[in-house]
Symmetry: C2
Subunit: 332 residues, 2 copies
């Protein structure tokens, strides 16, 4: 592997000058620059990030942790991050927590060992002990949280307005003349699901209509049991005419259940999900949903991080993105 040294030798320049060429330093004459670049080309020179990182304290690496990579939402975010970071000279490395606190901490640790310059993190469902995260914050290593944001003051974060999303979804059902709504609630230990719960309740309350009924059903963590619970609920309460599912996947399961029960969607029951997953557009009927603007979220998070990286004293930023109602066949 050719290094800066060989280039120096060939061109008859010093290490310093050669180094400067690759660091866009303006303190180099065009002629020398050209000479160096040419030599670099010939030798197929690849700068050694490790060495540069060691010396300069800047690894040019950004670490990203998501719960799961095989997820429409998170991979959309990753794409947004990639897009934003691509021309900045930074490399990104991706790790998955698989919704486990332990794996999340492991990933954070290996980021620290790799001396990443900044971290983008969406915390796992399981994460309750924030000590590791607080340590990182204290160490001044720039970190931006997205979507799943820990309950801490003074952090950089990008979130979806989940309250608003649930509010919009519920409102949409009400606009479609639904009178008896069910909200299938996600794990309320996670703040975003709590927000959606509030949005659902408030949307109904705001109508101030005694004829409207809104109920919530909390699931176990076992899918089969959950489907059983929902099935029972639907049988017990035949007046249900609108369902707001906390996610598209559970929405799809509900859709299948409704078909099994010979309940017509949207005629008898209208169904709306959350997330705008890719498959929600492939079902029959296509499922109405709330789009989470994932690419934008990734871009924003990365953008805040890059700004902080440029100017460490940049103020902390919290960005709240607005969701978007996507009306499809299942509600009209």
């Amino acid at each position: 592997m050719a290094g800066i040294k060989e280039i120096a030798k060939i061109t008859g320049l010093s290490l310093a000058t050669v180094s400067r060429v690759f660091n866009d330093s303006t303190l180099v004459s065009p002629k020398t620059k050209e000479k160096v670049l040419k030599a670099a080309q010939e030798l197929d020179y690849q700068p050694n990030i490790m060495a540069a990182a060691l010396r300069s304290g800047k690894s040019k690496i950004i670490g990203v942790i998501v719960p799961e990579v095989n997820n429409f939402f998170f991979s959309g975010i990753i794409n947004g991050i990639e897009k934003m970071v691509s021309d900045s000279g930074y490399n990104i490395i991706i790790a998955q927590s698989h919704e486990s606190q332990e794996k999340e901490n492991e990933a954070l640790n290996s980021f620290l060992k790799l001396k990443v310059e900044g971290i983008l993190l969406s915390i796992s469902k399981e994460t309750s002990d924030l000590s590791q995260i607080q340590k990182i914050i204290k160490s001044k290593l720039p970190i931006v949280f997205f979507d799943r944001v820990p309950n801490l003051k003074n952090i950089n974060s990008v979130m979806l307005d989940d309250y608003m999303g649930a509010f919009m979804a519920t409102n949409h059902l009400l606009d479609q003349q639904c009178k008896h709504l069910i909200h299938i609630v996600g794990d309320t230990k996670v703040s975003i699901f709590k927000e959606r719960q509030k949005g659902f309740n408030d949307a109904i309350a705001k109508r101030n209509d005694k004829n409207l009924k809104g109920e919530s059903i909390t699931l176990s963590s076992n899918l089969k049991e959950d489907i059983g619970l929902i099935k029972k609920l639907l049988k017990d309460k035949p007046n249900i005419d609108g369902i707001f599912a906390y996610g598209d996947e559970i929405g799809l399961h509900v859709l299948n259940l409704l078909k099994e029960l010979n309940i017509q969607v949207p005629k008898q029951i209208k169904l709306i999900g959350f997330g705008n997953a890719d498959f929600s557009n492939l079902t029959q009927p296509k499922i109405s949903t709330i789009d989470q603007e994932c690419t934008q979220m990734g871009e924003q998070a990365a953008s805040i991080l890059l700004k902080t990286l440029k100017d460490k004293s940049a103020s902390l930023k919290t960005k709240v993105l607005s969701p978007r109602l996507v009306v499809r066949d299942s509600t009209q």
Copy 2:
């Protein structure tokens, strides 16, 4: 950030001894080891991989490139890789090519700059110029290809037996009494799709039955047009009673199309996909498919790489995994 130096100072030991403790060298007395470990704990010491990498020439990083991370198959592979690598001391970094030769090369380049010790690569659909890859092979940097393997001799690779998968899928349709089969063909520039094509043809040929008909339809790259093409085909040839789609996603589109045309699945037409995507189990009817053993593939690829990393002179390995027929509602 505390370093090895501070630990040496506190414990009164030399740098070398402290270093040895973290490298599992047995040349350290238990007492000193304990002392060092304790000090490390107190100082919250994180070894600096960069420095170690620079000195030892071993970055402890493995680079993984997949076409797309938001894909059931590839994320399954990533999980397999993570599993296999987790206790080896290596870190993995993931990059996406988004099916672009250019991005693939960019990723490869940043891997080289990061001095990864090994590469796991599934080449993009677009990749035709193999010079970059050949350069890497020549440089002796260990690389293992998986699933999408370039047409080169003397490489490490893990593949699915795509021929066999297609053969099994087609055979299954024939076993279900289908007489007029259609194969919706993937981009035959990619070798795996060519293999599936062969498997389809051979399965029919082997029956040696004049009453059997097998046709292939090659798609454009535009989904809407493609659906139109398939629609036309179905109308032109009402005797079609079995469809083998090269992937589950296109299979789902076909399923929706068939519903639109009021053709019953599996009664009138039996449909089988390829890939065992998560959603193929969520449709109605559930789609029969071929499982690609993605986790296993990731494990195998990582395992070959780790072996090569341990023993650079290890012989080149090619592993072919057997696919698995998954029979669901759409074919019975």
